[in-house]
């Protein structure tokens, strides 16, 4: 077990290293460097740019740049953020918690709702309810997550929506939050979380439900379900104890694969709801031409994805005895 985790962590480090290398290549292969690209948008003088290039080592040969970049990375140094005038890592660290909270809440909605709907559909495949839910999940699956966010806002948000129920943007009520009781603060944060998390979670849940339905159908066709019925088990035990349980195996794989998709979604949702997380930070950084932040965010996201995959692998091993003992 320890060996498995160690091995997968090592592989994860290799993946992150590769991501960093790809990012390096992408940037250096592109014509010019951040400063030429800044071009006329920046009023900085030629001397300033040349000085900045020297400071950043951009005048060095490529391999020297690469090794320095990797060496810095190994020390956890992702460079400086131009726009915030502080280390990228620290700037990112400030944003990560908000994104993790949003992603976790969305993940919860995604899988709880998705598995429930998909399993219900799969066990009654072909029924009217199944057809109806299929239309619903297909539609939700096809909705751009940011548009769903806008539509939710249009219905539920303060000052915007028809129902005026929840705050539209931000992660807390500015100006008021500091004066709330701890419980009030929590409520305030949760109220802000609901819309973005639901937008992100619903789209995910639709995909999960489609997958879960197929997985359930797949399992129900298998011989051991017939065995379970033949020994006189209640239909509920057959469905929960055998069918659902086994159908969750492919869902765990989906769980591992959903992390990058989820993080993609946060970029869009955070922009819609002005959620102060990593995604919004990256988008702002692009317009501010703060390239170190973009690279840093890509690397940090890769780390999150790697950890997520490890989590999925561990879950899989916990549930499927056949893969235990196989490294």
């Amino acid at each position: 077990m320890v060996r498995f985790v160690a091995r997968r962590l090592l592989q994860g480090v290799a993946v992150v290293f590769l991501v960093a290398t790809l990012a390096f290549i992408l940037f250096r292969l592109a014509p010019g460097d951040p400063f030429t690209r800044m071009g006329d948008a920046s009023s900085a003088s030629q001397e300033f740019k040349a000085q900045a290039r020297r400071n950043l080592g951009l005048d060095q040969p490529l391999h020297t740049q690469y090794f320095r970049y990797i060496a810095n990375l190994a020390r956890g140094d992702l460079g400086m953020s131009f726009s915030e005038q502080r280390p990228v890592l620290r700037a990112i660290a400030d944003r990560v918690p908000a994104t993790v909270v949003l992603a976790a809440a969305a993940l919860l909605i995604d899988f709880l709702l998705g598995i429930f709907i998909g399993a219900a559909q799969g066990s009654r495949a072909g029924s009217k309810a199944d057809d109806l839910l299929s239309v619903l999940t297909l539609t939700l699956y096809s909705v751009p997550v940011f548009w769903l966010g806008l539509m939710l806002m249009l219905v539920f948000a303060h000052n915007v929506g028809l129902l005026d129920l929840l705050p539209a943007t931000g992660s807390k009520t500015t100006g008021v939050y500091e004066y709330l009781t701890p419980l009030g603060q929590l409520t305030d944060r949760i109220r802000h979380l609901i819309l973005p998390a639901v937008a992100l979670g619903l789209v995910g849940a639709a995909g999960t439900a489609r997958y879960q339905r197929a997985a359930m159908l797949d399992v129900i066709r298998q011989d051991f379900i017939r065995t379970a019925r033949a020994k006189g088990l209640r239909e509920r035990s057959v469905l929960l104890g055998h069918a659902l349980r086994n159908s969750l195996l492919p869902i765990i794989t989906l769980f591992g694969l959903s992390f990058p998709i989820l993080l993609s979604g946060t970029v869009l949702v955070e922009t819609v709801f002005a959620w102060p997380g990593l995604g919004k930070f990256v988008v702002d950084a692009i317009f501010a031409r703060d390239y170190n932040v973009v690279t840093g965010a890509v690397i940090i996201s890769a780390c999150m994805v790697v950890l997520g995959n490890l989590l999925a692998d561990l879950l899989y091993r916990a549930v499927d005895p056949r893969v235990r003992g196989v490294v």
């Binding site: 992408l26 539609t139 699956y141 909705v143 990058p260 993609s264 869009l268 996201s301 890769a302």
Partner: protein, 277 residues
């Protein structure tokens, strides 16, 4: 082949999907004929932000442009981008997948580790990384960017399929009959991996439509004044209270398009995938 078509036409999802895509595709293809206005024409101050009416079924935007016309042209761009980018990604993905699955351990390892790394980066972030280097992107460069960052999944599917087909009896049979490598590849391997590629490609088109819209929404894709659905929604998001139609309609068209691709993809999966048939 005709038998496959017959089975497809019996699949309800596939039929609905094809019908939906045909309508939307016709709309996109015939945009110049069908759009009531020039999508970039600003019709004057008096016609700014008009709610839906007989003259403007989808209303007008803040510059007084006809939203229906812009939606039709936007759909046209979405279609062009989705089809071309997926074509590109399928070509790259299939080549890489076949090379990895059939080209020996070393090549497989190198290619798949690279794909692992690429897949570890959330797709939108990856695109932001690439787009950060471009000032303004036109349709052509967007297609190249989207296509060249969308093949990772395809290559994995193809590789898995190649590895599985490699073990099938008929591959060994061909080998034992003295059939050469190249012929085995073209006559026995490739024809048997087309189904998953078709399925992945169709479902991929829906995803590209969504991603392209997302990028434009962030302000990084197609630039104004060209009509793009994502960009329209971005502009619309600022006017959510006053002019919701400017964001509702472009979104709805995207939803319909993606539903179409998903239905067709599901239909292909139901009929072509031996595991579910």
């Amino acid at each position: 082949m005709s038998e496959t078509l017959l089975r497809l036409s019996r699949n309800r999802r596939w039929r609905y999907g094809i019908a939906l895509l045909t309508v939307l595709g016709a709309l996109a293809a015939l945009a110049p004929l069908l759009a009531p206005y020039d999508p970039t024409a600003q019709l004057g101050l008096a016609r700014q932000l008009l709610p839906p009416s007989a003259a403007h079924p989808f209303g007008t935007d803040i510059f007084g442009r006809d939203v229906l016309s812009r939606v039709i042209y936007g759909a046209r761009i979405s279609f062009v981008i989705a089809l071309s980018a997926v074509l590109l990604s399928v070509i790259i993905g299939t080549s890489v997948g076949v090379a990895a699955g059939y080209g020996g351990r070393l090549l497989d390892g190198a290619l798949m580790r690279t794909v692992d790394a690429a897949l570890a980066v959330p797709r939108v972030l990856l695109l932001l990384l690439v787009l950060a280097l471009w000032e303004r992107v036109g349709v052509a460069s967007l297609i190249i960017i989207l296509g060249s960052t969308s093949w990772f999944g395809v290559s994995r599917i193809v590789r898995a399929e190649v590895l599985s087909v490699r073990e099938r009896g008929y591959m060994e049979a061909a080998k034992s009959l003295g059939v050469g490598q190249r012929r085995i590849l073209s006559h026995h391997l490739l024809p048997n991996i087309t189904s998953p590629i078709i399925i992945a490609a169709t479902l991929g088109m829906g995803q590209i439509v969504l991603i392209e819209a997302g990028l434009s929404f962030l302000g990084l894709g197609i630039q104004e004044p060209t009509a793009s659905l994502g960009r329209m929604m971005q502009a619309g998001s600022a006017l959510l209270v006053n002019a919701p139609w400017t964001s509702i309609f472009p979104g709805a068209i995207i939803v319909l398009t993606v539903i179409g691709f998903s239905l067709v993809g599901d239909g292909f999966r139901d009929t072509l995938d031996p595991r579910t048939a």
